[in-house]
């Protein structure tokens, strides 16, 4: 009897523990509702001591994981002596100490520097079951600290939710910091900005190829708003569409084989499909009103777009095969810049009310509209992260334009664009 009781106790304990471990598999679309207490003690040196390397890694990783909204970081001031010990193997970690602090997850790591070479060894533990959830060794240069931290943050999300994070991807945007609007690329946290064009003209509205390290955008470089393509690493650039009139709002299809864009070659803006060689495949809209701003559904069967065919600008959905058009938004008087989520479940857009845009999302069937942004300033150009967890957007306030990130539910918004610029029109790459 006593034996049975004891077994029962053990079993309930196991249930409790595994229950906690399972609780770690969170609902991805609702971050912030349930958080995991996570401890990230500083990286320990394995040979040379370079505290600034450890500090930069810590800052990047904490910032990414904080943005995810899935964690509550255990206060470093409460850390006990295990935080200063290099022991990375599960047998070497004093899990009891971390449980005492309430941590359910623990990231321990060490760094080794030889000349310019940097090796990071990182481990994510379930502090309750003492199980290694993810162990990674990264070898790179000293300049790669940020990239390694972003990559590991993506890995942490993958281990805990089954879906990789977007932190190692890139954001393209338009900046006027040279005096002209040019195309730039930066990390998801706004670091390492890089100018890609030198058109000294007007460059607009970028989009990433889903298949290659390549961007499309519109530029007035040759005196007409033409659509350009640019290979990011080789710098090779060519004009993809240069019809008389507008060649704007280019968006790669999810398979990367076609581009939807607005052309006005027949004196009225219509949405077309062109091939990656620039030839017109199909005309998708046929209406005397304005049709602009296409955004593909992730399955490639539908396109959300903006049209004033019912008077004011509203978002409509077009069936790419039947060309049937259904109206999506009915509220408000000016809805624009739709962006279909990579999961397919929601469409983000911006609505002008008074003199200010705010960002909303809605289901593709027109139900469950939600306002995500509040407060001063105009928020426009929402674009989803490749995992659908976050949105990037432009904010214009008092004449200054900056780029911000937030979670898909509108929480956790933060400015990411580097200081001192006039930055807008972000586009989020796929997993890099």
């Amino acid at each position: 009897m006593k034996m049975i009781k004891y077994t029962w106790l053990l079993f309930s304990l196991w249930l409790l523990l595994s229950g906690s471990a399972l609780a770690v598999k969170l609902e991805i679309s609702a971050p912030g509702e349930q958080t995991i207490p996570l401890a990230i003690p500083p990286l320990q040196p394995m040979s040379l001591v370079r505290p600034e390397v450890a500090a930069e890694f810590q800052q990047v990783l904490e910032s990414d994981l904080d943005l995810s909204g899935l964690f509550e970081l255990v206060n470093p001031e409460s850390f006990l002596d295990d935080a200063q010990r290099l022991g990375l193997r599960s047998s070497e970690v004093d899990f009891a100490q971390w449980r005492l602090l309430g941590a359910e997850a623990l990231i321990k790591g060490g760094y080794q520097i030889e000349g310019e070479k940097l090796t990071l060894e990182l481990r994510l533990y379930d502090a309750i079951t003492r199980r290694l959830l993810s162990g990674r060794r990264y070898i790179g240069g000293l300049k790669d600290v940020r990239r390694i931290a972003h990559t590991f943050a993506d890995q942490v999300l993958h281990s805990l939710t089954g879906e990789k994070g977007p932190f190692a991807s890139k954001i393209a945007y338009i900046s006027k910091r040279t005096g002209n609007k040019e195309l730039y690329l930066m990390d998801v946290d706004g670091h390492q900005p890089l100018r890609l064009t030198a058109h000294q003209s007007i460059v607009l509205n970028p989009d990433f190829s889903p298949a290659r390290k390549e961007l499309i955008f519109t530029s007035y470089d040759k005196g007409n708003p033409d659509l350009y393509r640019k290979e990011i690493y080789t710098g090779r650039e060519s004009r993809l569409s240069m019809k008389q009139g507008l060649n704007i709002g280019g968006r790669y299809s999810p398979d990367g084989r076609e581009v939807a864009l607005t052309l006005s070659k027949d004196q009225n803006s219509e949405i077309y499909l062109i091939g990656t060689d620039g030839t017109i495949h199909r005309r998708l809209t046929n209406h005397y009103g304005i049709d602009v701003d296409p955004s593909w559904s992730p399955d490639g069967h539908k396109i959300a777009f903006v049209s004033d065919r019912r008077g004011n600008p509203h978002v409509f959905i077009l069936d790419v095969h039947s060309l049937e058009v259904v109206r999506l938004t009915f509220e408000g008087k000016y809805n624009a810049t739709p962006a279909w989520s990579p999961k397919g479940d929601r469409i983000a857009f911006s609505r002008l009310e008074g003199n200010q845009f705010d960002i909303y999302t809605i289901r593709p069937d027109g139900t469950d509209e939600r306002r995500l942004t509040f407060g001063a300033g105009s928020k426009e150009h929402p674009r989803w992260s490749p995992d659908g967890r976050f949105l990037v957007y432009s904010l214009e306030q008092a004449g200054k334009k900056t780029i911000h990130l937030m979670r898909a539910d509108g929480t956790g918004s933060r400015k990411i664009s580097p200081p001192g610029g006039n930055d807008s029109h972000p586009a989020w790459s796929g997993h890099w």
């Binding site: 607005t262 803006s269 304005i290 903006v306 000016y334 003199n355 029109h425």
Partner: protein, 183 residues
Amino acid sequence: MQKTIIHLVVMLFALTLLAAGCAKKPVAEEPSMMEETPQVEIQQQEPVAVVEQQVDDAAAAREAAEAAARRAMGGLVRIHFDFDQYVLTATAKQTLANNAQLLKAAPAVKVQVEGHCDERGSDEYNLALGEKRALATKNYLVSLGVAADRMSVISYGEELPLDAVQSEAAWAKNRRAEFKARR
């Protein structure tokens, strides 16, 4: 060879006479005949100006045409639109009537009609709206007798505001179509 040149001169002479229409004086004595042929061709396009000129006074005709072009380019007045509209207002139509007179008086002048928007709409929508504004402007000028092939259109959307201040007055100023000389 000699004959061919004589033939050419005779043909050009005939052309000049034709072009000059009611020219009173023969102009064959003019030594710079060959060089001035291009101007003669321009006069073919603007008989109205030629009728009032002395035929041998080609330089003056050219100056008159240039003056008309300068007057036209200096005198073409931009027009404004209501928010999210590309319909021409009554004021805009009056302005365009005047612009049409100037353009018709200077037939050699080619213009680009630029459509612009205020910053409030979405950029893509504004690019399309700016183009509608430029086209509405061009089409109205065509209806007033300005040749369509003298005018091209381009939209700059909200990219080139006249006044970057965020106020109703600035926005009203920025919603416009304007005219630039085209080479």
